[in-house]
Amino acid sequence: MSAVYAPPARHLLRAKDLADARYFDPLDVDDLARAAGLSRAHFSREFRRAFGESPHGYLLTRRLERAAALLRTTDRSVADVCFSVGLSSLGSFTTSFTRTYGMSPTAYRASFPPATNQARVPACVVRFYGRPQHRTFREDSAAAAL
């Protein structure tokens, strides 16, 4: 069977998928270009044309988004968060984060409720608070008519 036609963007999507899937590894634009099977310069140009931003920008914002989630939902240190999203320089992480979110990682975390508030609610609480109000059909229609 002959090779199936795929629009060039399909190869660029492989690079984007790689950034989404492996942001926590020390990936760089060269790795993304390889995933798309293109030279680095050509890849960066084509990626920007298809998705409206540079591959470097896409990978960095994916990492920052993941870092922000870790700051909100865990109590791991800022350095740990930085390394967990594939970045190796705490200084440039702090700079990029602050530029993007308008505040430092520490201030960002402080602006959200403590991560412990997001802990899963025990089953007994779900059962207590999730139980609906009992109502009859007639009461339902009366409420709907209001």
Partner: protein, 143 residues
């Protein structure tokens, strides 16, 4: 009055390639594969998961004129290739086992199973670029 979801459609770049992928890699069944010469060889091709007979996915070729003008067709092809044309959400009772089985058939996942607040989630793409999520949804009552 009531209705049910029977079929939903995905654009694919190549129906043979998509059919091979959804049956051989994902393990779905062919539900119908009918070509109509009187309609310019339009091919109605649907697949669905074993054990869920009343739901199917149409693997629809991107048509040319007069159904769709060349420029629009090009845009649709491009959107599919960029991964923005749609997603199928599958659920399973064992995401890790499904991941192992599909991987062993050569299916490449874009996201390996990961814990999420709502369950264990993973994803892959079909050859055209459509995204498929495979999720083991957590029963909230067990939390």
């Amino acid at each position: 009055m009531s209705f049910r979801i029977a079929t939903a459609q995905l654009w694919v770049h190549d129906q043979d390639e998509a059919l091979k992928f959804y049956t051989e890699k994902v393990g779905m069944e062919v539900r119908s594969d009918v070509t109509m010469p009187e309609m310019g060889n339009f091919r109605w091709l649907t697949v669905g998961p074993a054990g869920q007979d009343d739901v199917a996915i149409v693997l629809m070729a991107i048509p040319g004129p007069p159904v769709m003008d060349e420029e629009t067709g090009e845009q649709v092809r491009d959107l599919v290739a960029k991964g923005f044309a749609g997603t199928i959400f599958l659920t399973t009772d064992d995401c890790h086992a499904a991941y192992e089985e599909l991987s062993s058939r050569g299916l490449e996942f874009t996201e390996a199973p990961e814990e999420r607040p709502y369950g264990i989630d993973s994803s892959f793409r079909d050859p055209s670029g459509n995204s498929v999520r495979l999720t083991q949804v957590r029963d909230l009552a067990t939390l």
